[in-house]
Amino acid sequence: MVWKTHDYDNIPGTYVFDGKQSSQSYELNKLFYSLNEAGNREALWNDPEAYMANFNLSDEQRDALRNNNFLEVVKKGGNIYYLAKMAIPRGISVQHVGAQFQDITVDDFRQKLEDNAEGFVEKLNKVGGYWNG
């Protein structure tokens, strides 16, 4: 069995969710998907080990969930939208998750977003025609 390589494989810090990722993490994402039901969320919080036992997870995947190691979850094929179903109800926003990926505080992560967008109004003015209040 040979997994085909892709142009997106070597983008740093990026794990494109494709067939290779999705197939190795099918049961993990199935667990996340089950959390659309409030009752399942409660069952997971009440007894994480018992709930995880309902799914055919690898030891590494179980460890990553136990430790809230979100980077490992993503590396092991957890889809970020699916992962959010576990994080958000516990008050862990996607920005908290993003901060954890980089081992920085959530305030630093938010600042990074602001920095990345800095000067956008000037750029819009240069192109022209954009709404600006």
């Binding site: 990026t14 969710f17 959010a84 576990m86 109800p89 990345n116």
Partner: protein, 279 residues
Amino acid sequence: MAKIIGGITSSHIPAVGNAITQGLTQEPYWKRFFDGYQPAVKWLEEAKPDVIIVVYNDHGLNFFLDKIPTFAIGCADKYINADEGWGLNAVGDFEGDQAFSWHLAESLVEQEFDICTCQEMKVDHGFVNPMRVLLEKEKDWGVKVVPFAVNTVQHPVPSGKRCLKIGEALGKAIESYPEDLRVVIFGTGGMSHQLQGERAGLINVDFDIETMESVISEPEKFASLSNAEIIEQAGTEGIETIMWLVMRGALQPDAKLIHKHYHAPISNTGAGVLVLENQ
């Protein structure tokens, strides 16, 4: 005959729904973003559409990874919003138009776009948030809808070129429908953002502006990029912006620009709004 009045693009960021629910739209963080929607809200009100076709991607509410259609169209008389795992209250149900939806499916397949038809379809924030911000309602929407789902979650994801082409076919399908319907199309998602991995937090303002300008007047240019190129520039979740091309393809090549608005960051994302009107 049915007529396409125009199209609107919008990001569908979850935090936008929360800001509306919590009454934060005039708070400093949100004000510029929401105020810039007002010309689009007004245009839509005056356009008086009978049907809105919403091009969006599902994020694991209706479709699980066991079956992922590349393109899917709702053919139901009703669509419901539901809990995506975040415990939020659902907005009011949306009314469908079965005869119109089935006509679109039939015409697309005749034009060699083999789309998945859905007679039950839950719609998530990707569909709901653009409706909330552009109609300024939470229920009793006063317009029928057709959900048009594109897989942008699990690769292989269709190319921008394919999205533009299915949009062209969708335009022909709409305009061959015998009833005098006024139709508006929303192209949702994007713009630049990456939620996962150590590169999370990416926002690429230059690329977003180039994309908006391209979608307005030269959609082939944005459509010529490979998905790997878009991911590199706009982030893994920025790939959603290809859905704008479905809307753009359905409109006339010389559709008139009514409004353009951009703000960043909103939550983790560069957020763009376009209003284009057919001549």
